[in-house]
């Protein structure tokens, strides 16, 4: 017995414009967005109109609104730990730039603490990060 051929699907005609759009979106997000390492604290930085370009491969110090601090991915409990972590991180490369990312509502005394500690462990370049204002 001869079965009728199953109707051939012809999906390409409808799918190709969709693929085009999806590719465009993909390329947009790849080019326009930047990937950032996961941040252990939620920091909402202050905005500024001006500011310099960022240096490459920095050590990141975070300060959140409650004054909690973190170095790269690790939350530190107090300044003692902060100094130890900074010292360890900067021992190999003292000229490595340090990015301080402080929440807009954080106490500036905390920021000065961190700057003191950075100076103490011999960090040579320090940058205070802000968000570009539009």
């Amino acid at each position: 017995m001869k079965l009728p051929e199953p109707p051939r699907r012809e999906p390409e005609e409808n799918v190709i414009p969709m693929i085009n759009i999806v590719f465009l979106l993909l390329i947009f997000f790849m080019v326009a967005g930047t990937l950032e390492p996961h941040s252990p604290l939620s920091v909402d930085p202050a905005e500024s109109e001006r500011g310099a370009e960022l240096a490459g491969d920095p050590l990141r110090v975070l300060i959140d609104a409650e004054g909690q601090m973190a170095v790269d991915q690790d939350v530190v409990d107090d300044r003692e730990q902060l100094r130890e972590r900074l010292k360890a991180a900067l021992a190999e490369a003292p000229e490595r730039p340090v990015e301080v990312k402080a929440d807009a509502d954080a106490d500036s005394a905390r920021l000065l603490d961190v700057m003191d500690d950075l100076r103490e462990v011999g960090a040579e370049r320090m940058q205070l990060m802000t968000r570009r204002e539009h």
Binding site: P11, E12, V15, I16, M18, I19, V22, F23, L25, L26, F29, M30, A32, G33, T34, L35, E36, P45, A46, E47, S48, E49, R50, G51, A52, E53, L54, A55, I63, E99, V100, A102, D103, A104, D105, A106, D107, S108, A109, L111, L112, M115, D116, L118, R119, R125, M126, Q127, L128, M129, T130, R131, R132
Partner: protein, 134 residues
């Protein structure tokens, strides 16, 4: 005579897996990329107050208080800060400015001061801890 069938246009490789992968990439980049534009203020923390005084010109001191700014002895609101600093910048762009946040002042206010100083063309800016009056 048997005429050869016209060669059928070669079917493209099945598009479905490609679409799957592209969609997954798209979703990944949509979720992972951020559009925050970062910039930074290079902050040099003066080693200590004593070294500052050695300069021949007394640096201008901008105190960041909880309810505004104080430039030298003159109280300045956040709105007037920029124009006031621009006056200083026009007067003497080489003038050293020390930003001195009071305990409890938010980082936002310090950033605004740094931003205004940068807009006024003052380049020699330091951030200093408030000292007990001598």
């Amino acid at each position: 005579m048997r005429i050869e069938e016209a060669p059928r246009r070669r079917r493209l490789v099945s598009l479905t897996p490609l679409i799957d992968v592209v969609f997954i990439l798209l979703i990944f980049f949509m979720l992972a990329s951020t559009f925050v534009e970062w910039q930074a203020f290079g902050v040099d923390a003066p080693a200590d107050g004593a070294a500052e005084e050695a300069q021949d010109e007394e640096p201008l001191r901008l105190y960041v208080t909880n309810d505004g700014y104080r430039l030298g002895d003159e109280s300045v609101g956040p709105d007037a800060l920029r124009s006031r600093l621009e006056e200083v910048g026009r007067d003497d762009a080489e003038r050293r400015l020390l930003v001195i946040p009071a305990a409890g002042a938010p980082v936002r206010a310090v950033i605004l001061a740094l931003d205004s100083a940068a807009a006024a063309g003052l380049e020699d800016v330091g951030v200093l801890r408030e000292e007990a009056p001598e």
